[in-house]
Amino acid sequence: MLEQQLFNALSLGCVYALFALGFTLVFGVLGVINLSHGAVFMVGAYAALAAVQNLGFPLWAAVIFAFVIAGCVGALIDVLVLRPLRNRNAPHLIPMIATIGVAIVLNSLAQGIAGAENKRFPTDVLPQESLDFLGIHITVIELGIILLSFLLMVALVLMIGRTQIGRALRAIAESPKAALLLGINVEWLFIITSFVAAGLGGVAGTLVGVYSNALFPLMGQPILHKGIAVIILGGMGDIRGAMLAGLFLGFAEVMSVAYIGSNMRDAVAFGVLFLVLILRPQGLLGRIQERKA
C-alpha cells in the first residue's frame, strides 16, 4: 500500500505544481497575486474540450490549443485590467481584488455558455492503458501528468535562466524602473509573462479535466487555495520552489489520508505547511529579499 500511496502523492503533487508554475511566475515578474488563475485554469479545460468535441483535435493538439486560448485570456486580463492599474500606480491590494472580479466574470460566462452541469472529455480520445509495476498501478494519464509537469518546469527554468527574455524578466523582477531605463520593453514582457503563465494554467486545467473526468465552471476554485499555499511555501516567485512545494503538499495530503484519516486531510497538510513556514518564512527555496524591504 505504501508504494501505491507514494505514487499517488507524486501524481497529485505534480498537479498542484503544474497549477502553481504559472501562478508563481506572474507573482515573480508582475508582483501580482493573480486570483483569476483558477478561472483561467477552467477556461483552458473548456477550450481543450471544445477543441476535441467541435474541432476534432487529438488530445495532444487540444493541450496546445488550451495553452494558446488560456494564454490569450491571460494576456487580455493583463492589458484590460492589470495595465490600467499599473499605470495609475494602484496600491498592491487593488490588482489582487480586481483579479477576483475577473474570476467571477469568467466563471459566470462559462456557466452561461456551457451550462452549470458537469462535462467530460469523450472516452475515445483518452488513453485507457495502465501498467502494473512493482505492485503499483499506474495509468498512462498519470504518467503523462508527471512527465509534462517536469518537462514544463525544466523548460520554464531554462527560459528564465538561459535566454534573453529570461534575463530581461529577471531584470524586471529586480526593478521594473531600472529595466525600463535599460531599454527593456517592460509592458511587452508583462504581456508575454501573463500569456505564458495563463497558458500553463490552461494546460493544468486540461490535464486535471482529463484526470478527474469532470469539468465544471467552478473547477478552478478548490485548486486555487492549494496553489496559493504552494507558491508561498515554494518561495513567492520561485519556479523550482513551486515544483518542490507542490510535491510536498501532495505528499502531505496523501500521507495524512493513508495514516491519519481523510477527514484530517487538509488540516494535517496545511498544519505541516504552517510549521515549515515558521522554520523557513521565506519558503523552501526562497531567499530573504532585502530589496523589497
Binding site: Q4, Q5, L12, P222, S262
Partner: protein
C-alpha cells in the same frame, strides 16, 4: 375544438372555471437541470389532463415561476403565487434548502405546498399543509443496502462521503444507520471535499481494507471520478449510491467504469407498467429527450393533485378551497409513472402530526453495460 368544449359545457350547464396551480422551480442557476425537467413534466401532465376534459370540466392552469434554486427567491416566488396570483396550491421548490425556507410561508398562509424533488429530512415536519411525493433518503437508502446485501453477498463495506455538503453528509448519516441496523461491518470510513479531483489515496486505503462493497454518498461531480478511479486501481466491488448517484449522467461521466452501481428510487425507466410507458412515450415525444426521475415525480405530482381536485367541489372562496384541497390530497390514492402512491402522515419535532410524505417502495436498480437494470 373550443367550440366543441363550449357546446359540451352549455349542455351540462356547468360553470367552467380555471383552476390556478403555482409551480416554483429552479429554471436558472445551478439546479436548473433538475428544475427544467420538472417544469416540462408538469406542463405535459396539465396538457394531458386538460385535453381529457380537465378536472370536473374545469381547466388546470399552471402559473410557473423561476426560484433560481435560491432560498430567498423561493420565498419571494411563494409570496407572489399565494397573495398576487392567488393560486390554489403550489408545486416546488426544486431544492430541499429552498423548501425549508419557503414551506413555512405556505403553512402560515394555509395553502398546500407540494414538493416533488425534495428528499432531505424534516421538510414535511413544517406543518399540515406540506406535502411531498419525493421519497426520502431515510426511506430509500436502507432498501438499497438491503437489496445489495442480498444479491451481491455483501458482509463488510467501506464508506466514502463528502463531508462538506449538507446533502451528502445527511446521506452518510442515513447510510450509517442502515448499515448498523443490518449488522454490516464497516472496514473504513473515508471523506472527501467538494471540488476534489484525486481520490486515489482514499481508494488505495479502501482497497487495502478489503471490503465487499463501497457505500458512496456523493454528488455526480465527485461520485463519477470516484467510480473511475476505483476501477483504475482494480477495486471492482459493487458501489452503493444515494440519490446523488441516481442519474443517467453516470454513464457519460464514468463511461467504461459505471458498472455495478446500486441505487434506489420509486421510478425506473425500466419499470414496464402501462402508466410509465405512457409517461415516457409522451415526454420523449414532446421534448425530444428521455425523462428522468425528477420528471416522473413531477408528472405524478400533477395527477395526484388532479385526483384530489376531482373529489371536491370548489366554492370560489380561496381559503376554503385551499383547505378542502389539503384534506382531499391527504387521502389520494393514485397509480402513476412511479407506481402505486399514497401519502403517509409525519410528525413534527414535538411529535404532533404535521405534513405528508410519500408512502412508496423504491425500486432498486443496478448498472450493467451502460444502463440501469432492475435488481431482484
Amino acid at each position: 375544438m373550443s367550440a366543441v368544449s363550449a357546446a359540451a359545457l352549455l349542455t351540462t350547464g356547468a360553470q367552467a372555471a380555471d383552476i390556478k396551480i403555482g409551480a416554483a422551480e429552479a429554471l436558472s442557476g445551478g439546479a436548473a437541470q433538475y428544475g427544467i425537467s420538472i417544469r416540462n413534466a408538469q406542463q405535459l401532465a396539465v396538457e394531458q389532463i386538460n385535453a381529457a376534459g380537465g378536472v370536473n370540466g374545469d381547466k388546470l392552469v399552471l402559473v410557473v415561476e423561476d426560484e433560481q434554486g435560491k432560498k430567498e427567491e423561493a420565498i419571494n416566488v411563494f409570496k407572489k403565487l399565494i397573495f398576487q396570483d392567488r393560486v390554489l396550491m403550489i408545486f416546488g421548490p426544486t431544492l430541499s434548502n429552498s423548501a425549508q425556507a419557503a414551506f413555512p410561508i405556505a403553512q402560515a398562509a394555509k395553502i398546500p405546498a407540494f414538493g416533488t424533488s425534495t428528499t432531505a429530512d424534516g421538510i414535511t415536519s413544517i406543518g399540515d399543509f406540506t406535502f411531498r411525493n419525493a421519497v426520502t433518503e431515510a426511506d430509500v437508502l436502507p432498501e438499497t443496502v438491503k437489496a445489495t446485501i442480498k444479491s451481491a453477498g455483501v458482509k463488510k463495506v467501506a464508506v466514502m462521503y463528502g463531508n462538506d455538503d449538507v446533502f451528502t453528509k445527511s446521506g452518510y448519516d442515513n447510510f450509517k444507520k442502515a448499515l448498523a441496523d443490518q449488522n454490516i461491518a464497516v472496514t473504513t470510513t473515508e471523506t472527501f471535499a467538494k471540488g476534489d479531483v484525486d481520490f486515489k489515496a482514499q481508494l488505495t486505503k479502501i482497497k487495502a481494507s478489503n471490503p465487499d462493497a463501497i457505500v458512496l454518498s456523493a454528488l455526480m461531480a465527485e461520485g463519477a471520478p470516484i467510480m473511475v478511479q476505483a476501477r483504475q486501481i482494480g477495486l471492482n466491488v459493487p458501489v452503493i449510491g444515494g440519490n446523488g448517484m441516481n442519474s443517467v449522467k453516470v454513464f457519460d461521466l464514468a463511461k467504461g467504469a459505471s458498472d455495478g452501481l446500486w441505487v434506489g428510487s420509486p421510478w425506473s425507466s425500466e419499470n414496464k407498467t402501462a402508466e410509465n410507458a405512457k409517461f415516457m412515450e409522451s415526454y420523449t415525444q414532446k421534448y425530444k429527450t428521455a425523462p428522468d426521475q425528477f420528471a416522473a415525480q413531477a408528472y405524478d405530482g400533477i395527477y395526484i393533485a388532479a385526483a384530489a381536485l376531482k373529489g371536491i367541489k370548489l366554492t370560489g372562496k380561496i381559503e376554503a378551497d385551499r383547505k378542502a384541497l389539503r384534506d382531499a390530497l391527504a387521502t389520494v390514492k393514485h397509480t402513476g409513472a412511479t407506481g402505486p402512491f399514497t401519502f403517509r402522515r409525519v410528525n413534527d419535532k414535538a411529535g404532533k402530526p404535521a405534513g405528508y410524505d410519500a408512502d412508496q417502495k423504491p425500486i432498486i436498480s443496478v448498472t450493467k453495460q451502460g444502463r440501469y437494470t432492475i435488481a431482484q
